[in-house]
Structures are given as C-alpha cells and as structure tokens.
Amino acid sequence: MTRMRPDDDLFDEVLLRRALRLEASELPPRLGVAVIAARAEDSPLGLATFVSSLFAGLAAAALLAVGAVTAWSLAPSVASDAFAAAISLLASIAVPLEVAVRAMQQPTIPIAALAAFVFAVGYEYRTRKEPANG
C-alpha cells in the first residue's frame, strides 16, 4: 500500500500533505490572550532567569569549594598511604626475586656446575654399560 514510489525520484507529495494535515479532532483548545498575559505576569522571565542563574551559580561555587577543601585535606594522607603501599608491593616482589637476580649476575657458575654434573652422569652411565656389552 506504499505510495511513495520506490524506483524513481517521484514522491507522492499530495499523500504526504494529506497525512500531515490537522484533522478537526486534533485541533487544540482555544488559547486566550488573557491567559497568556496572566501566565507571563505570573512568571516574569527576566527575574526567574536571574534567580535560577544565581542559585545555579551559588550551588556550583559551593560544590567546587567543598570539593577543593576535601581534596586538599585528604591529599597528604592519601599520598602517604599510596607511597607505603607501593613500597610494600615492591619489597614483596623483590625478596623472592633476589635469588634469581643473584644467579643472573654470575651466570657462569651454575651453568658450569650443571654442565659438569651432566657430563659426570653421562660418563658414569657409559663406563658401566661397556663391560656388559663386551
């Protein structure tokens, strides 16, 4: 039932106009000038804007001040706590790593010992095996 034509640029503007038209059942209630005037007097725009802006400004300034004071008072203790936590974390990592670090500083000793041990085991195995075959 779509009357917007899909395959060309023609567009059923009449249908669109008809669809958007206000029907009698949609018409709004009559608005009286006296009502508008009374409403305008009830809430003078300039004063209302000024008062709301003033309150918003004061609230923002108060919030900013509270935030700044809180941050200023908490900053030293938070900083020291953070520093202590960082130091203890560093220590807990450094202690187990000390052995590995020490070995890494002189890598030739454990490597030479390991090589000698492997060579000795191999030699022993070979010399024990020879009489059995011979």
Binding site: M1, M4, L27, L31
Partner: protein, 184 residues
C-alpha cells in the same frame, strides 16, 4: 469624478495597513503553531506545551517584533525552536511513545478492509515515519508539507541557507520513502 473619490477613499486603507496585534497573531496562527509543534514532536501533550511556551515567548518579545515581516514566520520560527528543544528534552521516550501511538492507531485490515481504513493506515504510517525522521530533516519536511512553505520561507524560519534547506528536503524525502518502503 465619483470614481476618483471612491479610489481616494480606498488608498489610505491600502497604504497604511492595520498593524498586527498580539490578539490577531494568536487568533490567526494558533492552529498552525500547534500543528507544527504536533508534527515535529509527534505528541499532543508536548505540542500543547510548545504552543503555550511559543505564545508566552511571543507575548514577552512582541515589542521587539519587526512589523514589516510576516508575523506568521516569526511565530513559526519560535514554535520550531521550541519544538526542537522540547523534542530533544524528551528524546528517546518521545520516539517510543510515538511508535506506540502509531501502532495503537493502526486498524485491523481483516476487520475493516475498506478504503477509509487503508487511508487511515497510510496516514498513521506516514505520520510515524515523519516523527521518526532525524530532527534536521523532520523540521524542513513539516514546514514544507504541513505549513506549505517554500524553500526560501523555510530558510527564513529555520535560519538555514536556502541551498541547505533544498538538500535537506531531498534527503528527508529519500529517508521517508525508505522508511515507508520498509513498513509497507
């Protein structure tokens, strides 16, 4: 002689037209202001709010209104801006309600398979599709097809360049067509 006297009596009336009063503006344009608000917001309550705030703003600014320009465009400009602001505030909730409303007014074709019900269905679908358009295109489509404004007049009301309005109308129509093909 009689003809010249009669002409002279008409000339002052033509030369100095009666200035538009605020009462005239409200009486002559409230349906149009309400209509543009309804078609942009897609919601009756919002449209009533927009109409009310439009005339409230117009009342307060009426002493600054330039009488050399048509009051209709001045009011439509205020109404369009108010409707856009209102629609932005309502955002998603508004779209959801428009969809629900559109779904609610769709008649059952099995029960009423006559031309009237088909026309109603089309109308509801088109209105829902217009309401679902992005704000940029919705405003120009409503001003063009509801308010019957030309491209230059839409440019005057929206404050956009006429060339931009032309492009937005084309794009809006294409989006509408696509949306209606999807639901058709």
């Amino acid at each position: 002689m009689a003809a010249s006297v009669a002409l002279a009596s008409f000339v002052p009336a033509i030369a100095t037209p009666r200035p538009v009063t605020f009462s005239d503006a409200v009486r002559d344009h409230q349906d149009e202001v309400y209509g543009v608000a309804l078609r942009i917001t897609g919601d009756r309550e919002s449209a009533l709010d927009v109409m009310s705030s439009t005339f409230l703003k117009a009342y307060r600014a009426f002493d600054r209104y330039d009488p050399s320009r048509p009051v209709r465009f001045w009011l439509l400009r205020i109404a369009t801006n108010e409707a856009i602001s209102h629609a932005r505030r309502r955002g998603r909730e508004l779209r959801r309600r428009a969809d629900e409303h559109a779904a609610g007014v769709l008649p059952d074709p099995a029960l009423t398979p006559d031309a009237l019900s088909i026309a109603r269905e089309d109308q509801a679908r088109i209105r829902a599709a217009v309401t679902a358009l992005p704000e940029l295109y919705r405003v120009v489509i409503v001003l063009r097809y509801f308010n019957e404004l030309g491209v230059d007049e839409i440019a005057l009301v929206t404050g956009r360049p006429a060339s931009t309005v032309g492009v937005q109308l084309l794009r809006g129509r294409a989006l509408l067509r696509r949306a209606l093909e999807g639901t058709g």
